[in-house]
């Protein structure tokens, strides 16, 4: 429902100049026509809504009424279309868990 409202509004709220700057930071891109810039800006808005809503829906936050970082990290890991986000949305683990897995890896190496 809420998604629909923003979809129907004919214009974009993100600044197109900023989106252009991000697009131009890609080395291969030389020119972007106005329609392509508009579409990318609009698509980014749809993406933000989609990412927020599906992370919230699949997450545990529904009980606490909160969208948390781990909801997003889970979505990046589990949803195929969000896989490109796994690098910037890494799952958080505790240092002691990390050290433990490191130790186990070393043990495995010794056994070889």
């Amino acid at each position: 429902m809420e998604e629909k409202v923003a979809t129907n509004s004919k214009n974009v709220s993100l600044p197109m100049s900023r989106v252009r700057l991000i697009m131009k930071s890609s080395p291969d891109v030389s020119c972007i026509n106005q329609d392509a810039l508009f579409l990318t800006t609009k698509a980014t808005e749809l993406f933000v809504q989609h990412l927020a809503l599906s992370s919230y829906k699949n997450g545990s936050g529904k009980d606490t009424n909160t969208l948390s970082y781990s909801n997003l990290a889970n979505a990046a890991e589990e949803t195929e279309t969000f896989q490109f986000l796994t690098d910037i949305l890494p799952k958080k683990i505790l240092a002691r868990d990390y050290l433990k897995s490191l130790e186990e890896m070393e043990k495995d190496d010794d056994n070889l």
């Binding site: 809420e2 998604e3 409202v5 923003a6 979809t7 129907n8 004919k10 214009n11 974009v12 709220s13 993100l14 600044p15 197109m16 900023r18 989106v19 700057l21 991000i22 697009m23 131009k24 930071s25 890609s26 291969d28 891109v29 030389s30 020119c31 972007i32 026509n33 329609d35 392509a36 508009f38 579409l39 990318t40 609009k42 698509a43 980014t44 808005e45 749809l46 993406f47 933000v48 809504q49 989609h50 990412l51 927020a52 809503l53 919230y56 936050g61 009424n65 909160t66 969208l67 948390s68 970082y69 909801n71 997003l72 990290a73 195929e80 279309t81 490109f84 986000l85 910037i88 949305l89």
Partner: protein
């Protein structure tokens, strides 16, 4: 090229508003989550640009066009965005065209006003009121365009 790395971020206030609009009322979004979504949005722009650029290069074009962006969305498996994007683009084009027409209409009104200055007073006042209404409507439309 961007001078500073923060130039490649999208404005947090706008991102927060878009998130709030997408989620049911009363849902809190942690600060960390907001920052992460904002970063994800920048990465999305780069990913979409790179996909779209591949389509442009395949067609031996230097300029990214609307079709390239649409093809990129398909390749990224965001087919769900295609229909809303088509509608938005159509409305955007109409808006651009409307802006042009509105400014032309304004010019015509001005000319009309000048030519009616000679006429008798009572009729003049009536027309002035009418024209003021029209201009107000146009200005609203323009303000909307400027926001973007």
């Amino acid at each position: 090229m961007a001078e500073r790395p923060e130039d490649l971020n999208l404005p947090n206030a706008v991102i927060t508003r878009i998130i709030k609009e997408a989620l049911p009322d009363g849902v809190n979004v942690s600060k960390e989550a907001r920052r992460a979504i904002s970063q994800a949005a920048s990465v999305f722009v780069l990913y979409a640009t790179s996909c779209a650029n591949n389509f442009a290069m395949k067609a031996k074009r230097k300029t990214l066009n609307a079709g390239d962006v649409m093809s990129a969305m398909e390749e990224m498996e965001f087919e769900r965005f295609l229909q809303p994007l088509r509608e938005a683009l159509e409305a955007y084009k109409k808006g651009q065209k409307g802006k042009k027409e509105a400014s032309e209409q304004k010019r015509k009104d001005k000319e009309k006003k000048n030519s009616t200055d000679e006429n008798d007073k009572s009729r003049d006042e009536e027309e002035d009121e009418h024209m003021d209404d029209e201009q107000e409507g146009e200005n609203e439309g323009e303000e909307e365009d400027v926001e973007n």
